[in-house]
């Protein structure tokens, strides 16, 4: 923040040396005002520029510098935040399930009617402990509830931020799968540079290498299996559906990385393509 951030009536050029582009760009990014004023004239009056023309030249330089810096910062940050969030979400879910099993097993020796899984652990967490071991198992169950709640919050964060990072990919894949693909590739730029055949198999590396060693059939899909267009298509056509989906997701990721504009027509194209693949069996 600049020193004058508390003042809400100053133009961006106040307290900025005319030659200092970095300070000018900071002031443009961090500043604010309650209302606009005749800035070109005020800047000339304040001696920031000799003429409105010179003012506009400086403004041009400063706005371009500021916008370029913001774009770089935001772009670099956002897909990496998404990557961490989806990995943390998976970690929380996995640990919550693991600990829930422990809680349920333990609680079964102390209470009656303990149900399995996260829901079982939630029920244990609501109990009133009446002995030292009960205290421990209820406290452990509370940790499971916390982890499960955090997984839910992380999922909400992923669902909210994925469309901003990759609008087309999120629309086609759904925000969670979009985040997974970005995470597996290492980032949006990395994903945009992958061939569609690799995107189709992201998350199926073990199966792919087993196949390459000659020990298994070739995998038809990786993590995109979670998409309804793949798992909802009958086995016979699933490979084609996976290939078609991966193709469109690859295009979506490239548009998201290189242009960033939403293209709703992609959704319809994919829908048509899947409908055609699924109807092949009916003919």
């Amino acid at each position: 923040m600049t020193e004058n951030s508390g003042r809400r009536d100053a133009g961006w050029f106040v307290d900025v040396d005319s030659g200092d582009v970095d300070a000018a760009s900071d002031s443009i990014v961090d500043g604010s005002a309650d209302a606009p004023q005749d800035w070109p004239q005020l800047a000339v009056d304040a001696g920031f520029a000799q003429s409105p023309d010179e003012y506009y030249d400086r403004l041009h330089e400063a706005t371009i510098h500021a916008a370029r810096r913001q774009v770089q910062e935001r772009e670099r940050a956002d897909d990496q935040q998404l990557k961490h969030a989806i990995q943390a979400m998976d970690d929380c879910e996995a640990r919550a399930n693991e600990l829930a099993e422990r809680v349920v097993e333990w609680a079964g020796t102390l209470f009656e009617d303990v149900e399995t899984g996260i829901e079982g652990a939630r029920a244990v967490a609501d109990r009133e402990p009446s002995s030292p071991p009960e205290e421990r198992v209820v406290a452990l169950a509370e940790r499971v509830v916390d982890l499960d709640d955090e997984a839910t919050n992380l999922r909400a964060f992923v669902e909210q931020s994925a469309p901003a990072v990759a609008p087309n990919l999120s629309a086609l894949a759904g925000p969670v799968l979009a985040a997974r693909l970005i995470s597996l590739a290492g980032g949006l730029e990395d994903l945009a540079k992958l061939p569609s055949g690799t995107v189709q198999l992201l998350g199926a590396e073990d199966a792919l290498f087993a196949h390459l060693r000659g020990q298994a059939p070739s995998p038809k899909h990786g993590v995109i299996y979670t998409h309804e267009y793949v798992h909802g298509t009958d086995r016979e056509h699933r490979g084609s559906a996976a290939r078609a989906l991966a193709g469109k997701l690859t295009i979506a990721a490239r548009i998201d990385h290189y242009s960033g504009e939403r293209r709703p027509e992609l959704d319809a194209e994919l829908e048509d393509r899947i409908a055609r693949i699924r109807s092949r069996g009916d003919q």
């Binding site: 809400r8 443009i28 604010s32 209302a35 606009p36 070109p40 370029r68 913001q70 504009e261």
Partner: protein, 209 residues
Amino acid sequence: MTLPDGVERREFDDEERLATRGQPVYGEPVVDGWRLWDARRSKLAAMFEREVETGLSGGDTVLYLGAASGTTVSHVADFAGPTYAVEFAPRPVRDLLDVADSRARLFPLLADARRPETYAHVVESGVDAIVQDVATRGQATVAVRNRQFLADDGRLIAAIKARSEDVTANPDAVFEDALDELRSAYEVLETTRLDPLHEDHLGVVARPR
């Protein structure tokens, strides 16, 4: 209706099309230095095609809300004066920067048009026109909040996109709601449907009340 100075109908492949003069930016056809301004790619060009009286005369100071990657803004900056281009999404701003590099009076701002206080320390008061093409909900609210930048005799030239407000509602109902809200701060001078050039879009020209 008169086209602003700097916007002309020029011949492209034996057809009279809108064009402006400036550095080409997105692979558009250029004849004798005039860049084709395709009404199918630009809502403002579509409004000129529909002979809407925008009040733009050439050399105007413009606040452009929803600049995206700068396709339309590049043409506006060709014929207008100082042009402030606000866009919220970082990736399109990358392309907008290329457009601004070759246009000395185009000022790109990565900011949210719903929050004018975040750029009111940069954008001057008394602009001649606000050109608005934002694809978020609450398009009328954006226009009302940015009214403070406009000169008393200035013009709001907005393209309202029905689907941005509600994909399921009847566009006419959406437009009526938007116009009702606009009327709290503006007098609406003219409205024109931009179909089929831009499906479910309403072109609006208004002046401050």
